[in-house]
Symmetry: C2
């Protein structure tokens, strides 16, 4: 299933006892549809508290009999019935955009090739849009997005991003950053677009936090790459607030390569997973 | 002052006892800044409960001494001081985008030449964005935006819009509709853009409600113009929900014509005012 959510009122994706999370909410909705215990879901991009998603991808296993029973007495397909009934059960801050039978070998987490995120920054009080305050971070100083973009470009490629990752024992911090582009959109909002095979914890927000001081003129465009090469977290890098961040896309290989991709990713067992933010 | 607000949690612009309105909130904020009673504001486009604004225009009269005292001990101009201090006092669903001394003869309401609104509709569950649910109305059926646009075009010009206005004794319902265009934006959202010298009460929402059944194929493109010519409210026209509507712009003439425009508008005394929605 393809899923969008407003992360404002969720404690992130992953289930946590006593917290409102996207995972629990979605699993409970499926439990209602299937008249059964809530099934377990697997997501292609876990998000932290307050982070949004416009196109997350989730898979779950459903017994064929339950799947076929979804339309009830209607003439809908199980896919259409699931889409319509989930819309009726889910709160308005989660939208299921599509439901379909996964191709053989598909795993939402391990089959993914890369993830794309956006981060929205507003540096002009005169163009602040209160309707977008839930997904846009306000900066106190104006930034030069061309300087930010120059700094961002220098971080691309296969690198060790330890300087921008929260440490996790036994997990690699080597990632391939495919895109890190900073542009000002027609409304005057500065948007950072980032894409990588996977991101480690807090990585997107740290990368954006590394180029903001460059945009403000407090650091040189070469500075974020120097921080990266130093390989240790730098107090000059702010981990940016969650609400500017949105998971925009998870990219999968063609169907014929899904199973092989999942096997490759799993065999690395090194933390190269959907964990993002 | 130029003002943007998220109308979700306001009972509209105009002050009402016991209700949270944009006008009261803005006037109280100015009272705090001026250390005085809340001054009275005049707006170029009043909005109903739940309607948003991206660029409303408001004027108020401030004694010169109070205006000059705004910067306090800072080196800021009164304009900069007002902008910064209002940001500190106002809630996050109101943003003041600019503050400046009005040109001679300016009246936010009576000097206005025309008002522009947008109305956002989503007819595709698969492209619904939960982050935009506060300013986008969900349609149950898919619409053909080209048919809607054809129907909209037939309503342009100087007309009696009585069929789309809430009745008000002694007020004219004749307006000049300068723009009524329906387009699908790159995200798949259908956006109606409307511009007129002024709108009477519920007019924008009724006009959009008249073209939606055309888009759904339940009415012919000529139908809204027939309803208009009949001159009476038609039960087939739904007044669309408030939260899809946003005041986008208020257009004023060049400075040299402001006073003359205000005098012309005032002398008509026929309800051709900022009243919108």
């Amino acid at each position: 299933m393809d899923l969008a959510y407003d992360g404002t009122h969720f404690s992130g994706w992953a289930s946590q006892p006593g917290r409102r999370t996207v995972q629990q909410t979605v699993e409970q909705a499926w439990g209602v549809l299937l008249r059964d215990l809530a099934p377990t879901t697997t997501v292609g991009g876990r998000t932290d508290a307050g982070v949004h998603a416009r196109a997350s991808v989730v898979h779950l296993d459903i017994p064929l009999r339950q799947w076929q029973a979804l339309p009830g007495r209607s003439t809908r397909s199980p896919e259409q019935a699931a889409l319509r009934r989930l819309a009726g059960v889910l709160p308005e801050d989660i939208v299921v955009r599509s439901v379909r039978v996964a191709p053989a070998g598909f795993d939402a987490r391990f089959s993914a090739l890369h993830r794309r995120y956006s981060y929205r920054l507003n540096d002009r009080p005169e163009s602040a849009d209160p309707l977008r305050r839930h997904d846009t971070v306000h900066l106190k100083r104006p930034v030069d997005e061309l300087r930010m973009n120059e700094a961002a470009r220098a971080l691309l490629g296969l690198r060790d991003f330890a300087a921008f990752c929260r440490k996790r024992a036994g997990a690699t911090t080597t990632r391939t950053l495919l895109r890190f582009e900073v542009v000002r959109d027609p409304d005057g909002v500065v948007v950072a677009h980032l894409e990588a095979d996977a991101f480690c914890h807090s990585m997107v927000r740290s990368l954006v936090g590394a180029v903001v001081p460059v945009g403000e003129g407090r650091r040189e465009p070469a500075w974020p790459a120097e921080v990266m090469r130093a390989g240790a977290r730098n107090p000059g890098v702010t981990v940016m607030p969650a609400h500017g961040l949105c998971l925009e896309q998870i990219v999968y290989p063609p169907e014929s390569e899904l199973a092989a991709r999942a096997q490759t990713t799993r065999s690395r067992r090194d933390g190269l997973e959907g964990r993002s933010i």
